[in-house]
């Protein structure tokens, strides 16, 4: 029982980061119908800035805003340079564009910064735990869960209660009609990318802390987890994205603890296997959005 509770908290911590990433992917997907394979770069770019900042005497208090702000700016910049030019193109084109952006950023860091691993110091409290009864809970997990809860609440408020949120949801459900109704497409798309960048920034703070390092290809894993979480939850559903992230995190942690010792290093493989099974029995994901075929 204790072990299960422990794992649940672990999994929620992990899943919270995925949920933030997935929500960012889902917001952009909703508005542009583009699955952003460059979403992970919103962690790589701030990651390198963090490395630079620590070398110049910054500390975590100043680095956290740096990460979030740089993630938002990177997101807007990438939209401006690349994605704005393929708006309305086929899904195929948009997928490959975002994939290409990932590759340019990764190759850019490889080429003009360094191919080697850059380490980033973790904060002092990172490994601390608090005991509740027989549970040993990592402070890091608690911080992730608490911050994610606050951010998700804020995002929900933004989407449900503000004009921007209304415009964004309208544009996500029918872009052309929303435009005819006077929603400014440029500003809504930019807003979506800013929001996506902000969510990635928050996730990035924890991701960078946990990894304690950054490499040119650091964006691949967060991107993959975010994208998979969106699919698990159901493409096109924001709530599904958050749920998918949490489920993915829990699945990883629980599987690792249940698998026999010999094959524990294959956990990722088994997680993928579970996802594959989910797709076979529920192709639309957990909260599948009905796809209407227009005749």
């Amino acid at each position: 029982m204790t072990e299960l509770l422990q794992n649940l908290i672990d999994g929620l911590g992990r899943g919270s980061i995925y949920a933030l990433l997935a929500l960012g992917v889902a917001v952009v997907f909703g508005i542009m119908h583009m699955l952003n394979f460059a979403h992970g770069e919103l962690i790589t770019i701030p990651g390198y800035l963090t490395f630079w900042a620590f070398n110049n005497g910054w500390n975590w208090w100043t680095v956290v805003p740096l990460i979030v702000v740089s993630a938002v700016l990177s997101s807007l910049l990438i939209e401006r340079i690349a994605f704005s030019r393929v708006r309305g193109a086929t899904d195929f084109t948009m997928l490959l564009t975002s994939f290409g952006v990932h590759f340019i950023v990764a190759a850019g860091f490889l080429l003009y910064v360094s191919a080697s691993v850059k380490t980033i110091p973790r904060p002092g409290w990172f490994a601390n735990t608090v005991s509740v009864g027989s549970l040993n809970i990592e402070v890091f997990d608690l911080a992730v869960i608490a911050v994610t809860a606050v951010v998700l609440a804020g995002t929900t408020w933004l989407l449900q209660r503000t004009m921007f949120g209304l415009a964004l949801r309208a544009a996500a459900s029918d872009f052309d009609t929303a435009r005819l109704m006077g929603v400014k497409s440029d500003s809504v798309i930019r807003g979506a990318f800013a929001l996506s960048g902000f969510l990635a920034g928050i996730a990035g703070v924890f991701w960078i802390m946990r990894e304690g390092q950054v490499t040119p290809t650091a964006g691949i894993n967060p991107m993959l987890q975010g994208v998979l979480a969106v699919l698990i939850g159901g493409l096109g559903s924001l709530r599904g994205a958050v749920l998918g992230g949490l489920v993915l995190g829990l699945a990883e942690v629980l599987l690792r603890s249940w698998l026999p010792l010999g094959i524990q290093n294959l956990t990722t493989g088994f997680v993928f296997l579970m996802i594959a099974l989910l797709f076979i029995f529920r192709p639309g994901g957990l909260l599948s959005v009905p796809q209407v075929e227009r005749v």
Partner: protein
């Protein structure tokens, strides 16, 4: 299997020979001019990349589904090949504890390749089922993510199963001198890959896959089951990628997880995209162009490189021209092409088809007019009590019609009466909440749309759904291919004659998306007729046409139906058109049939007048 032997078999063979000669010849010239070992290796690498890229083209090009996973399949094949082909004494150094006693196994390279292909095909079949379940179709995002996940799984397993794979750093290697020493196997495989890819593209299966790529819904309405064709394309493409990957391992002499991962997936995709993913010629061109571009970038990145006597490594440029420059070239090429030329340099231009049009086809003469069939095969359609509700809204309530071969039945009703919903139900695109429909007594309710069209109910679409990138002739041919398989008991008319009959003979080589509105409508009619249907369902065939065009269309519909012996069920809201064309008319209003009979009877019916002209008309 092939609609036209000369065009679809002869010329592709000829074209593949030329393509092969050009690529290999170009490589030979390059390596002779440079005359060093590294140039020779570059050419060999290019030839192997070409095999893999052509393999990927078979899937992506014909189905329109973006796949990252083919390099994952390549990893499976590469490891399978390595484990079976490497000598036991070499395996003892790296994987002494390999599972299933594989350490002691050794077979000849050829047998190892066959084993590798078979193992990979099993994986591909399983993944293919998953893709089908996810509703894969052209541009499908979920399918792409599945393939991406596959790439990661294979990489992850290769890394974390060192007992079999030698792990992340060591890998497994051939003994010195055991790796591929001759180019012949590569050349053979490359030519084979080109040939197979071209023949598949021209084959029945390839054409049906391409039709589904262009418009999935329309393809299903023409009796194509896209999932079967996608699976065929997947298996064929994976087989070729597997052979290429095994050769790649054989040539390099070792395998590591990272060799078949993101970077290589990116490289092969960029090669395919740059040249033109919908064409084998394009794939080959892309391989050549990107190999050259990367080699140039690599040399620019080396210190002290000069081009045309100008040193590019001088101070201000030095920060750009660095080692690994070639890796960023890939990303830039990908994004630049997506923004400015998303379909690649050649789009879907195919060398052998161009050659065929230039020299192979000869003069074509317009076919004779088709005569109407003397005896029309008997067929009866009947739908009864069809109900559909969306949420609380009843689109159809107990609607039913009867039709038999040789007659034209009109369904009319104001906008929102449920006409299109009715067609959608009997063509399997909307599931009814109740009722049944049948042809010749055989219950068809609950069948999928491609099964319904194979049983003889073939539709056109109100808002035009042609296979846009295909020519007029290819559009009609697609339907004819399905008819040959599933409607062989009927009179099958020649494709060309139907095209001429629809008045499209002059436009036969134009792409469907270039046609004007009226011609597009006529092409839909010809395509439906080529299915040799028992009943043609025409959904507003004259919408958007002028009155005089509509009148010509009436005659064309009547004649076209008579030449293939089909009954016609036509839907429109235009009373004049429907009464002009129909033998019998059903009037739909608010989801129910309110009247039926001959045009005169229906026009005299007060309820119909009320529905059409408002109740004021009858008081």
């Amino acid at each position: 299997m092939f609609p036209n032997k000369r065009r679809d078999v002869g010329f592709p063979i000829l074209g593949s020979l030329v393509l092969f000669a050009v690529l290999f010849g170009g490589g030979l010239i390059y390596q002779t001019i440079l005359g060093n070992g590294s140039a020779e290796r570059l050419v060999t690498t290019m030839l192997i990349d070409a095999i893999i890229v052509i393999g990927i083209q078979i899937y992506i090009g014909n189905t329109g589904i973006l796949s990252f996973g083919h390099i994952g399949f390549g990893a499976v094949a590469g490891y399978a090949f390595a484990v079976f082909a490497i000598a036991p004494e070499e395996k003892l150094k790296r994987i002494p504890m390999a599972p299933f006693g594989l350490t002691d196994v050794q077979v000849s390279p050829v047998v190892a390749i066959i084993i590798a292909v078979l193992i990979t095909l099993v994986f591909a079949f399983i993944v293919g089922i998953g893709l089908a379940r996810s509703g894969a179709q052209s541009g499908s995002v979920a399918a792409t993510v599945i393939t991406l996940a596959l790439l990661f799984v294979t990489h992850e397993v290769a890394k974390s199963w060192p007992e079999l794979t030698g792990g992340n750093r060591g890998g497994i290697s051939f003994g010195i001198g055991d790796s591929l020493q001759s180019r012949w196997p590569v050349l053979l495989a490359l030519f084979g890959a080109m040939l197979v890819a071209r023949l598949f593209g021209q084959s029945r299966s390839g054409r049906l896959a391409i039709a589904a790529r262009e418009d999935n819904l329309a393809a299903r309405a023409m009796g194509v089951n896209p999932l079967v064709q996608q699976m065929a394309a997947l298996l064929l493409s994976v087989a070729i990628v597997s052979i290429g990957s095994a050769l790649r391992v054989f040539e390099i002499g070792s395998i590591l997880p990272d060799r078949f991962f993101f970077d290589y997936a990116m490289l092969t995709l960029v090669m395919l995209i740059v040249g033109g993913r919908n064409s084998v010629t394009g794939a080959v061109l892309g391989v050549a162009v990107m190999t050259a571009a990367r080699e140039l970038a690599r040399r620019l990145g080396q210190d002290g490189f000069e081009a045309f006597g100008i040193g590019l490594d001088e101070a201000p440029l030095d920060w750009i021209f660095r080692e690994n420059l070639n890796s960023i070239v890939l990303g830039v090429a990908m994004v630049a092409f997506m923004i400015w030329r998303p379909k690649g340099i050649l789009e879907d231009w195919e060398f052998d088809q161009w050659l065929y049009r230039k020299i192979g086809r000869g003069a074509e003469s317009k076919p004779e007019r088709l005569s109407e069939l003397d005896t029309v095969p008997d067929a009866a359609f009947s739908a009864s009590d069809i109900s559909v509700s969306f949420g609380g809204f009843h689109a159809l309530t107990d609607a039913g019609i009867d039709a038999k071969s040789g007659e034209i039945v009109g369904i009319i009703g104001p906008n929102g009466a449920g006409k299109t919903t009715f067609v959608n139900v009997i063509t399997g695109m909307v599931e009814p909440t109740g009722g049944r429909f049948e042809i010749d007594g055989a219950d068809l309710s609950g069948k999928q749309s491609f099964e319904l069209s194979r049983s003889g109910l073939v539709r056109t679409f109100q808002n035009l759904r042609l296979f846009g990138a295909l020519t007029v002739r290819e559009n009609v041919e697609t339907a004819a291919l399905v008819a040959q398989e599933h409607r062989s008991d009927r009179v099958l008319r020649s494709t060309d004659a139907l095209i001429a009959e629809a008045g499209l003979w002059e436009h036969r080589d134009r792409r469907a998306r270039e046609l004007d509105y009226g011609n597009s409508r006529r092409l839909e009619l010809a395509r439906a007729a080529a299915m040799a249907p028992s009943f043609m369902l025409l959904d507003e065939p004259t919408s958007g046409m002028s009155d005089s065009e509509s009148i010509t269309m009436i005659e064309q519909v009547r004649h076209m139906a008579a030449t293939v012996g089909a009954g016609v069920i036509v839907i429109d809201h235009d009373l004049a058109f429907i009464t002009g064309i129909s033998d019998r008319i059903y009037v739909l209003d608010q989801g129910s049939v309110i009247a039926d009979g001959t045009p005169d009877e229906v026009q005299a019916n007060p309820q119909v007048q009320a529905a059409y002209l408002g109740s004021a008309a009858i008081t």
